[in-house]
């Protein structure tokens, strides 16, 4: 059955011409790509085998007994009910096994804990429901959320086959890029609720806690793309905030950093041009679907009691500057989008909500105006 399903999945992929097949599922823990993750894997295998051997012993004895010591075979019940020697043995042996396990476990724990002498630092902030990455050494700063293709498919009753999307739910719009062979320190915090950052190939996960920081580190030897997910229940879209880490050789990484810096400059340019309302509405629709629809719903109807509707909302059909301000700074569960969206995206989505989703206010706001408002915020590095 598995084979036919894989074949089926493969055929669909080919039919859609989407190239690479999905990652093979595994039965066992993955080895990962760091020394720590390999040590953890070895420890996992050690304990697994210990359990298997104890299991064979205990279950073997039990099933031997079940087979031979049954009444239907005429076995007479013995009447012993204690044996101090045996009882001491089966207390001592497990104790020794546990000590044998504790030693390598302690070593791995100490290794994992040592965040000192890192070569670069990345701050990771958990948001409902996206990740924010900040490179403390070169100032790069961006948000990373579920890719658009997965986001379309994962809407309730979308009817689209998830197998048609490469890396369904494990792909993001902007991956985290790190250099290989460097000790990288991660500092974790969160802006709203607790999240947890997990890339299995790196060998660990760490909770991100609002108001507090946590640290961990990694050093990846081989270039590659490593995928993970949020692992602490963080609300409605907990399943939809994946993590993608791309490890690159040092020169590739440096080139990537330069490209990002150039893109920021280009973005600043496009924000200063004059945009037509239709252009903004068209662009705003995609921005809305990527950033707003998970709470306010794709049709702007909201979710009664939790997320207000966009359609006929007093904020959206009221004063445009008040709406911009609310979106810049956030309110309650509404995140502050001022630092999450570029000026162009921000202006586009504001214009879209006022002229789409059943509203027709008719006005618009220019990206340049947003840029002025944002520029007061140094943290508002553009994310494109």
């Amino acid at each position: 059955m598995k084979k036919t399903k894989q074949l089926f999945a493969g055929l669909i992929l080919m039919a859609f011409g989407l190239g690479t097949a999905q990652a093979e599922y595994t039965l066992n823990l993955m080895k990962g790509v760091t020394k720590v993750s390999n040590d953890i894997y070895d420890l996992h295998m050690l304990i697994l085998w210990v359990c298997v051997f104890i299991g064979i012993g205990v279950f073997g004895t039990m099933f031997y007994s079940i087979y031979h010591h049954r009444k239907s075979k005429g076995h007479q019940a013995a009447q012993f009910h204690e044996n101090t020697t045996v009882e001491i043995i089966w207390t001592i042996i497990p104790t020794l096994i546990l000590i044998g396990m504790a030693i390598p476990a302690t070593k791995a724990m100490v290794e994992l804990d040592d965040v000192q002498e890192s070569e670069m630092s990345i701050k990771v902030t958990g948001h409902q429901w996206k990740w924010e990455y900040e490179y403390l050494d070169n100032g790069l700063h961006f948000f990373s959320s579920l890719d658009e293709a997965s986001n379309k498919v994962r809407q309730v009753g979308s009817g689209i086959d998830p197998r048609s999307v490469p890396h369904y739910l494990l792909n993001v719009d902007k991956p985290l890029v790190i250099p290989t062979k460097k000790k990288i320190r991660f500092v974790f915090t969160a802006a709203d609720v607790i999240h947890s950052w997990w890339v299995p190939d790196l060998g660990w996960k760490k909770d991100t806690i609002p108001g507090f920081i946590n640290e961990s580190w990694t050093s990846v030897d081989e270039p590659g793309t490593y995928r993970g997910q949020c692992t602490e229940l963080c609300g409605k879209d907990h399943a939809f905030m994946p993590i993608v880490v791309i490890a690159m050789n040092e020169p590739d990484y440096n080139a990537w950093v330069e490209k990002q810096k150039a893109a920021i400059a280009a973005e600043a340019g496009s924000a200063s041009k004059q945009w037509a309302t239709e252009e903004l509405v068209a662009k705003g629709k995609t921005v809305y679907e990527a950033n707003c629809s998970s709470c306010h719903m794709a049709d702007g109807a909201g979710l009664a009691g939790t997320f207000p509707a966009i359609k006929a909302s007093p904020v959206v059909i009221g004063d445009i500057n008040a709406q911009v301000k609310l979106m810049l700074n956030g309110k309650g569960m509404m995140p502050a989008f001022g630092k999450m969206l570029s000026a162009v995206d921000f202006a586009a989505v504001v214009t879209y909500t006022r002229n789409g989703l059943g509203n027709s206010v008719g006005d618009s706001i220019q990206p340049s105006a947003i840029q002025t408002l944002q520029s007061a915020t140094p943290a508002a590095d553009k994310n494109e």
Binding site: T26, N28, M62, A78, S158, P162, R163, K205, I209, G235
Partner: protein, 538 residues
Amino acid sequence: MSAVVAEHDDHHDHHDHGPAKGLLRWIITTNHKDIGTLYLLFALAMFFVGGAMAMVIRAELFEPGMQFVNPQFFNSMTTMHALVMVFGAVMPAFVGLANWMIPMMIGAPDMALPRMNNMSFWMLVAGVLLLASTLFMEGGAPASGWTLYPPLVLQTGKALPFAIFSVHLLGISSIMGAINIIATIFNMRAPGMTLMKMPMFVWTWLITAFLLIAIMPVFAGAVTMLLTDRFFDTSFFDAAGGGDPVLYQHIFWFFGHPEVYVMILPTFGVASTIIPVFARKPLFGYSSMVYATAAIAFLSFIVWAHHMFTVGMPIAGELYFMYATMLIAIPTGVKVFNWTATMWKGSMTFETPMLFSIAFVVLFTMGGFTGLMMSVAPVDFQYHDTYFIVAHFHYTLVPASVFILMAAGYFWLPKWTGHMYDERIGRLHFWLSVISVNVLFFPQHFLGLAGMPRRIPDYAVQFADWNMISSIGGFIFGVSQLLFLYIVIDTIKGGTGEKVTAEVWEEAAKHSLEWTLPSPPPYHSFTTPPTVIPTEHI
């Protein structure tokens, strides 16, 4: 098979000083058997309610993509499934067993505090109904997991205060039940029934009752702090006011870890009661069983933070909680070895209660193995919050606690009703359950190791195959339980029609006092204390 009087008999007369007639009997009853029946039937009903929620979860997870429910409702389902199963099904079922069996096992006429007994049952019903009503409130039922972690839980809609009050009611109900059990065991034992002659079920419940008294108030305190954080501007768990969300996790798991033992210790007790009867041998190592139970209960108080290895504790904390947690394997191992030794060289027969008990020993041990694996902190950095832990605790709860509750049902139904259940259907129920429960939960180990987080309504496609298999197992398991419902109803109505003896199972009276009473037993169990105390089990 057991000794059964094969004589058809269909008169349903009651005893001389019987209960009040009609519905009122069940509302005002202070009789330990009536209250035990109420608890057990309520727990069975909640088992199906919680099970229906599990079916919703498995249906959504049958295939990748979102087919049936929205993510918020899915989270409500996982949360409510856990709360209903823990507080509505497993705990009340064991309280029901305690009510029925403890007075009969220690030779008492009734529970020590009968009126409080009645109150604690109705409070349980009120608590569960209040909890269920949150499903229909604006913003939906709590969706932050049964652990109710802040700050997420504070985003719950209108349901939050109701959910918290329901936890209060459930807590008070459990505490009253626990006090009653302690008072009964301490003060109502028949002459000659010394503590070290008590059946294991009574012993495990005594220890469990003390656990409940120690932890339920702490949980009540934690949720009260949530309530004041949300409505009265305190900031116990709110970093903005100088609080700490991780503090909640510490308090919760100080309650939560002993709480999982509240569900497993009486399980151990029932298993230690059933296995010797069908092995026709005394329980191996009675006193080491008592000490192991006490040791597990003690350890449960000092290992809580192993649920929180990834919150960023200092390394000394991580190591301490790792070592302490590993220690639990020792007394737990002793128990498993003792059960095996009890079977060794016995003269075993395999009626349904014994089948469920053997499955319990094997499958609980598998849950124990994964528990041991997760006690190792660095490796838990991978396992934590994945389907691996989901598989682990379901192995220790479903084919352990729930199977033993089924075993207890089959074991004592003939005693309670005076009728024999249909052994053929019982075995069918067993085989369907034991196969489907493994199809349901075993693949979840693979899913967790391969990287599937828990509490997600949708997943990457490489997890699709095992999820589908797991769901199929889940549906079969769910449907199979209807057989149990049928058997319970059928047995109450007369079962196979055989009239059972007082002893029901061969030589059971050598093991415990309840088998010296007629089946069904008189309305008040031992109006005159028994003269002979069975000692076969020690």
